[in-house]
């Protein structure tokens, strides 16, 4: 099927391209969008639909798989093949899609509860295996759909219906977790920055293997303003490959390496521009990416790096799995192989 059709590169290699350019509208389904007015899911949907025409793929070769949660209604709004599955299981289901169909671009949409609470295991295994798919993790630091319980990314002390005296859970840092799980593409972006969202999502789609994009997403109903400290504090550290990591008002702050080897932030004026480290997302070793992830203030979110922490090549599970499987010139060759298998070697005739 894919042989005679032009194909895109990298993460999308093998996925047939549209013969004539598509528009955002082509990727918009007729379903009425049902999120709360003001929900951060809207801008992400818009950004996603915005990049699809640029990816060049056909909508029939796009598959969006989601779990359960507010964000997981996403597939209904994208004109493509889609599956709204079970709580936490989207990466597992998407793995089956991706492995069996190299001609499909597979996206997973999930929430902080979906991906990190019930679905944590499937997520880390997808990352370890490096199955070719792009995971959009909508992190609103709350369970939206079930009306506001704390999630594994909520700050400690969060008061919710299930934690009236404040939660005692220490939060995950999704980027650290993904790096610890051998992730090859790990990034973070935020609903309020359309340009950044777009750029990161595109890079993620183009990465071959599992791409994890944590998206800070505001839930206006149950966790409104969760990212306001970050937006307010000048603490958003933008990571750009090959660029010195400076941020804050007028780039006055920078990331530097202390004598003990750990990364810390400090005023550039104090440390000197030459001591600001340069971001390298493509280094084989995840040490730097992990160190940068530690700059996230997971509780208060006064500070957090956004951008691509890591983007490296590693052989892709599904490519390798498919390479072991015999493909056949035609149906009869396949039937012959099946026949041979059934017979085995130790037969007798009666």
């Amino acid at each position: 099927m894919t042989a005679t059709i032009p194909t895109a590169k990298s993460g999308l290699a093998g996925v047939p391209l549209a013969l004539s350019p598509l528009t955002r509208k082509d990727f918009t389904s007729p379903a009425e969008v049902r999120w709360c007015p003001g929900c951060g899911d809207y801008p992400v949907l818009a950004a996603f639909q915005g990049i699809l025409p640029d990816l060049g793929i056909r909508n029939e070769n796009l598959v969006v798989v989601s779990g359960i949660g507010c964000s997981s209604r996403f597939p209904y709004y994208v004109e493509s093949y889609g599956m709204h599955t079970l709580h936490g299981r989207a990466p597992a289901i998407a793995s089956g899609v991706a492995m069996s169909r190299p001609d499909l671009a597979v996206f997973v949409v999930t929430g902080d509860g979906d991906a990190l609470s019930i679905g944590g295991n499937h997520l880390i295994h997808a990352l370890r295996r490096n199955i070719n798919m792009t995971i959009l993790l909508f992190n609103n630091r709350i369970y939206g759909l079930t009306k506001g319980q704390y999630s594994p990314t909520s700050e400690q002390g969060k008061v919710t219906k299930s934690s009236p005296q404040g939660s005692v859970d220490h939060p995950f840092n999704p980027v650290s977790l993904a790096l610890g799980a051998e992730g090859t593409f790990v990034a973070r972006t935020i609903d309020s920055n359309r340009a950044h969202l777009t750029e990161v999502l595109k890079a993620a789609a183009n990465h071959r293997g599992t791409s994890l994009v944590e998206i800070y997403q505001n839930c206006v109903i149950f966790n409104d303003g969760a990212f306001d400290p970050l937006k307010a504090s000048d603490g958003m550290i933008k990571l750009v490959h090959g660029e010195p990591i400076i941020f804050g008002a007028d780039g006055s702050m920078g990331v530097t390496r202390l004598a003990d080897g750990t990364l810390k932030v400090a005023p550039v004026a104090e440390i000197g521009a030459e001591n600001v480290i340069v971001h390298d997302a493509h280094g084989d070793d995840p040490q730097l990416a992990f160190a940068l992830a530690q700059l996230t203030d997971s509780n208060n979110l006064g500070m957090a790096p956004i951008g691509i922490f890591r983007d490296v090549d590693r052989p892709v599970y599904d490519d390798m799995a498919r390479a072991q499987i015999t493909t056949f010139a035609d149906e009869s060759a396949k039937l012959k192989a099946v026949s041979d298998l059934l017979k085995g070697r130790d037969t007798w005739e009666l």
Partner: protein, 617 residues
Amino acid sequence: MTQVNTIDHVVIRFSGDSGDGMQLTGDRFTQDNAVAGNDFVTLPDYPAEIRAPAGTVAGVSSFQLHFADYDIHTPGDHPDVLVAMNPAALKANLADLPVGGIVIVDTADFTPRALSKVGYAENPLEEDRLAQYQVHAFDLTAAATAAVEPYGLSRKDASRTKNMYALGLVDWLYSRSIDQTVTFLTTKFAKKPAIRDANIAALKAGYNFGETSEAFAVRYEIAAAPAKAGTYRQITGNRAAAYGLVAGAARAGLPLYLGAYPITPASEVLHYLSDAKRAGVMTYQAEDEIAAVGAAVGASFAGCLGATSTSGPGLALKAEMLGLAVIAELPLVVIDVQRGGPSTGLPTKTEQSDLNIALFGRHGEAPMPVIAAQSPADCFAATFEACKIAVEYRTPVLVLTDGYLGNGAEPWRVPELDELAEIEPNIITEPNQPDGVYWPYARDEKGARAWAIPGTPGLTHRIGGLEKAANTGAVSYDNDNHEVMVRARAAKIDGIVREVPDVVVDDPSGAAKVLVVGWGSTFGPIQSAVRLVRQSDRDLATIHLRYLNPLPANLGEVLASYDRVVVPEMNLGQLAMWLRAKYLINVESYSRVRGLPLRQSELADDLNAIIDEEAAK
């Protein structure tokens, strides 16, 4: 010369330490008889521990083989012949041997220390406690070691050829050729010539020992069993189930995708399919059972035949995902190789106690067809039928086998693919409504929905676990629509009855008042028991169920036509309950939950008593 007696069947049990290679020995002897045209059934049995301490009763591994010149269905209740490679094996198995049975013992390890390890105060070979058996005690280890001397093996390796020596002897005893085994060893140890030659030498030496010594006064011969002409192989239930999937997918023209997580006794289904990549099969060892079935559901959505294999604990974990497959109406074949439960239970033992969870183990109204295999080879046919139903009705289907079927072997006539039923996936590629509209939940006359797969232009659509509107498949919270959909899904599954053949009663005299109803792996013991009952000049009718859901259309009628209906099961009466509910017939449960197949003789006795009781009424 030794006298040759012709007999019609024999049950032989090889037993020894886990490290003694008894499974291989049994397997090879099976093959030797198979080639000679006997019908056979095997029953391997090994310790739950990977390697229990050597020389202990807990560490005994055994392999029982029943072969005959007629069609047989069980590995036999009791061995006629016991091969015991050490004191532990003798201790563990002797009680099963009926008086007059043959015992072949390797005396090498009958040292005071070894004896006391298994609780023999004195050497049983030296007492007269074996007087009631025909005992043939030799130092097989020494004989084998001597025979392989030329090949320069280590002492340990040399002594390990004793199993081939024993095999050679038994081959001689039952007048079997050793040629196939020689070929087998040649291939198996192609890269280790010394081992290869030593094993062949030991095999031949054992054979020759029978031929030349006068240890055995009688030798046996069992004629070929009548069988349909064709190419045969020996097959275990797990392999047959795996191949049923391969054949089903091939006939449907769909790629096969198996998602699985290892679990005893089902792991082999994963193993065999992982070794079937040359036939285009994709397998995925997932991180757990939920991911395994999830990936299979994903693959089905993507246009494969998704399948998953597991045992009880894994099936329990898959429950939620099966519900998704039910409402998404995607094809999926689930193979459950049942084992002893509940919980971790008895992982290496057999049981039929997952029928309830198969029929009823999902939340909400989530009906699924359930098919049970009746013998190792039948696992192929049952699984193949499951593929057909899964694909043509877009539904998950459960195939129930069990540890006994999975590990047991019997001869199987390898079918040509085009002998098998056609499977019509009917994947749609064009809009099915006016104006280029596609309704994924439009149904065909069978109730199957219109299945389109990714990559097909114009048919993009979204499905999921929320209730959907009839036809369009859009999310719907409408009350009446829900009722329509719940009933439509149920009706679709009920309608599969059109694929289910009517049961045909086996009631030769037509005079039976008692009907015995089996399902799954009780087939063998029931058939054998029925034969015994009839040999005692009693009338007994029997049927065997393959489809547990939906049940055959004529079943109620059949059940109602007998005075008494007995359902033997390896559980506490799960099928009995289902039949009672369906047909309001006072089905009696005959239940044995011992982790073992039913004993044919015990069953026959009990059935005799029931028949006599009924006659006396």
